[in-house]
Structure formats: structure tokens, C-alpha cells
Symmetry: D3
Subunit: 64 residues, 6 copies
Amino acid sequence: MPTIFFYGPKLDKEKRREMIKSFTETASRLSGKSKASIVVYLRESSPESVGVGGELLEDREKQK
Amino acid sequence: MPTIFFYGPKLDKEKRREMIKSFTETASRLSGKSKASIVVYLRESSPESVGVGGELLEDREKQK
Amino acid sequence: MPTIFFYGPKLDKEKRREMIKSFTETASRLSGKSKASIVVYLRESSPESVGVGGELLEDREKQK
Amino acid sequence: MPTIFFYGPKLDKEKRREMIKSFTETASRLSGKSKASIVVYLRESSPESVGVGGELLEDREKQK
Amino acid sequence: MPTIFFYGPKLDKEKRREMIKSFTETASRLSGKSKASIVVYLRESSPESVGVGGELLEDREKQK
Amino acid sequence: MPTIFFYGPKLDKEKRREMIKSFTETASRLSGKSKASIVVYLRESSPESVGVGGELLEDREKQK
């Protein structure tokens, strides 16, 4: 039953597959729970709705 | 003040109404908190961004 | 794979059983997903660490 | 490393900037952690997918 | 109905009061929702169960 | 700024270190974000407060 949430940038499908596979294998091996019982949620978070260091991420990225 | 989050597939409006009603009544009855104080968030999660058993749900559903 | 989180007061074991049973049946019926695939997390939240209306819940409860 | 999640209505960009700035300053001052280490996620939640008092928020707003 | 979650270090009661008050006032002012409808959850997170930069926070703090 | 939450059983310290290291490396490699910016929260969830398949996990584990 372990459940994993990832909040981060949008990833293309091949990377989503890899992330789910890797997180699930690591979580199963370390928790002793079967891979079948593990759910991973990839929650996209765009720079328009995240703040880092008190600033909108979108603004920070433009400054670079 | 209880708060409930549901992560799952997109539901049509009538089902969203039923889910909110049922979750709220159950939570109010068992926690002793008023229904007015309970908030339910239905957070849609598409098969393209969920993993089950180490695989993208979208891929699993295609195999069936 | 639906996942439900409940943030609220500590409940005794019989009430936790009822809440899990009811939430799972409702979620399964409305989402069309099997009950076996649904996970419910009951996350206890004490009045010392919740705010309602800008006040610590513990303070509000004392005023009554 | 503190992390803040806000679930609420969609805000325009200037308000998102203000919310991130204010939450981060408050969290840094009270937790003693640097502003640079604090992340804020603004998670939009529409009236079609939130329930208050057992009713879909969209339905409640129409009644007023 | 906005809901705010803060994941961070344990705070003493006076700081918890201030954080709840400040977050609620900011969220109410910017979202246009009443303060009475806003719930804040302070979720304590200890250095033994948080990772930053790939390391357990407890280990990082010892190195300093 | 990616943030990862793991809800699952209590792990001993060495396993927590491994999980944080592995999740962070995978998330950094696939998202292109620096490891330093990634935070992992390990949120312990005991069998007394989790439901699987409509039953309290604690009850299910006793039946086996």
C-alpha cells in the first residue's frame, strides 16, 4: 500500500515510465511491500504556480 | 474542519455530487464534526500520470 | 488505484473501520475501480496543530 | 526545506506573487529556515471538484 | 474553503498561532474567501524523516 | 524544487537514507533539476490508520 507523490515539472511519457519504475522498485525493496501494491502519482506543477525563495518560479527562470 | 482528498479518475458531475455527499455524511457521523465544516477535494488523476505496480497505468490498461 | 486521505481528529478503532469501509465502498461504486485497489489513509490532526478561521483550533475549543 | 501547499481558487499572477512572498516570509521567520529553502505550491481547485458541507461548491454558489 | 498545509519543523505554540493567523489573513485577502472558511494544517516533519539534496536532513545537520 | 512524499511503513534509518538517495537521484536525472533542490518527505503510516480493500490494514495482517 505505499503511495508516492511527485510534485514537479511535466515529464514526457518515457521519463514518466522510468520514474514510476524506479520509485516503485526502490520503495518495494526497502519497505518489503510488493510492487503490485505501490501507487505513484505524478502531479505536474508549472512554474506559474510554484514559489521558490519567495518568488514565483516563472519570474526566477526569466531572470536567468 | 476535517478535510478529505480523493485522488482518482475523472467522474461526471452526478457522481461527484454523490461522492461528496457520502464522504461528508460518513466523516461527520464518525468524527462528530458538523457537515458544514467538512471540505472534500476531488483531485483528478489521469492514467498518463499514475503508476501501479511499477507501470504507467495507461500502459497497463492497453494490455488488457 | 484511487487513494483517499482523511485529515481529522483521532478516531477509535471501530470508527476507523467504519470510515475505511464506507469510503472504499463509495469510491469503488462511483469510480468503477475494484475495492481491492483502493487505499485510505487516516491522518490524525490534533487541535494543537490545526487552524480554523485564523485561530488555533485548541484555542477556539477552549472559548466554548 | 519547509513546503507549503495552498488548495484554493485560481488566482491571477499578481496575487500568486503576493501569496508566495507572504507565505515564504512568514514561514521563514517563524521556522528559522532560510527563504531560499522554502517551496510553495499553489494547487488550483475549481468549484466543480470541491465539496463544502456535503454539496458541490458549484451548486452552492448557484444557490446564492 | 481554501486549505493550507505546512510541512516543516515543530514550532512552539505561540509561533503556531502566528503562522495560522498570518497564513489565514493572506489567503483570505488574496482569494476573497472568508477567514472562517480557511483551514490550516501544520504537519510536523522531523529531520529523521526528511531528505534534502539526497541526504537525510539529520545527517546534514550533524555535518555542520 | 521537486518534492516527493512517501506514505508507507516505518523504515529504519539506513533504509530511509537509501530511499532518499535513490528517489532524489532518479528525480534529478529525469526532471533535470539539481539534487540540491529536491526535498523528500517520508510520512510514516501505521497499519492502525490505513485501509486497503475496505479493511483496516491491521485487521488484514492478523488474518494472514
